[in-house]
Symmetry: none
Subunit: 239 residues, 2 copies
């Protein structure tokens, strides 16, 4: 039986309830329904309901979370919208390329993160993503309103769902984000304990390892292999 892909739109700390409602409506027009909101400033609010219009069912089903982790830890692939080029570059997709990637991940839980109205996503939040999305825009003023960004992404997804690509059959289930985060914590711990990372001056090593693993979308067996190697570093066999 074919599994349904679940695509979540995750609004991180929106200030204006109107944007939450407008995002719900935008999703509804493009047949998407899983809306998550992390720490909204004002919600519920009549402004949200008014702007949701016929997307009120999406709004009513939305999940309000206390933390980003709560919204995405069970997802297998996460992308974040970003307007800025970061110091450590991450893989970047257009909305259309995102649709292609989503089509190649049937049955997965996928999250698309949207940042705060004034400051977007933090570097830390962006580093939890497998890839970043950039909406091609006017270089002079590329700042789409957050609900507008939701509309453009949902439109691209809806358009891209049109013709199915042959899905890739993988031999192992993709690892959920929480599992990958635990692995990264273990990398940090072991590499610091053994002195590979200097606890005083950790530098960029962990960010580089994070980015490397983010690009690959690890499967569960691979997570196991890497844990095995780390355990081995921690307790080397007697020589």
């Amino acid at each position: 039986m074919e599994q349904t892909t679940e695509i979540r739109m995750v609004l991180v700390e929106p200030s204006h309830p109107g944007n939450i409602g407008a995002a719900a409506r935008a999703m509804k027009t493009m047949a998407l329904k899983h809306l998550y909101v992390v720490n909204p400033k004002r919600y519920p609010d009549p402004q949200a309901l008014w702007r949701a219009a016929g997307g009120d069912d999406v709004l009513e089903a939305c999940r309000v979370c206390d933390s980003l982790s709560q919204a995405i830890d069970d997802c297998q692939w996460v992308v974040g919208t970003s307007a800025r080029q970061r110091r450590i570059p991450w893989p970047v997709l257009t909305p259309e390329a995102l649709a292609d990637e989503v089509r190649e991940r049937p049955g997965q839980r996928i999250a698309v993160l949207f940042g705060r109205e004034d400051s977007g996503l933090t570097n830390e939040e962006l580093q939890r993503c497998n890839a970043h999305i950039e909406i091609p825009a006017n270089p002079v003023y590329p700042v789409l309103n957050v609900a507008m960004a939701v509309q453009v992404i949902c439109y691209a997804l809806y358009r891209g769902m049109g013709d199915p690509v042959q899905p890739l059959v993988w031999d192992r289930p993709p690892a959920p984000l929480a599992t990958v985060e635990a692995l990264l914590a273990r990398f940090d711990q072991v590499l610091t304990a053994t002195g590979f990372i200097n606890a005083e001056q950790p530098g960029q090593t962990m960010t580089r390892i994070r980015r490397l693993l983010a690009r690959t979308q690890l499967d569960e067996t691979e997570v196991g292999v890497l844990h095995g190697i780390l355990t081995h570093i921690e307790r080397p066999p007697p020589h």
Copy 2:
């Protein structure tokens, strides 16, 4: 000399000033600047200015007209957005096909009409158009907010204008294949020497590591980090 195409976004009798401002911002993000508003219910209005954000220059330059004719009579090609199939069918374009058509009309003055929040464009207004635009959407609820429709159309136009997608600039050169092969050989050697891989029955571990690294296209610094970790495994620091 090449003439500039002029693309107007024409809002017909919008009720909510917020939508006028949001449309101005949407246009600005996609490098469009000619906004026309026909018989707005409330305008100017602080709501419009607030929602315009960094598109305030587009909003301030907008032309308020008494009639649709005034807004489009000097145009050479006019299209109107429509969600409904009309009694007398008209040529219908997707937003992407609109971008193609616009490209084929260099130097023309082109108008894109958007209707009222509650009832869209009238049949008479639609019949003044050379073609209609339909934004592909959820058949259950295809009703985009008017400013959202402006955003989607402007996005498609911007994309269609051949603005090159910004190539990803990576901070490190990608590792040549031979370098990756050398790294894999080193993985094999170190993991076998330390007993993580059983030399008698090596199993699939190396194949899994190979596949994992193959998916990411490693850069040279990442290869360096992984070599460092392997060296660390080989010669653990004194405890």
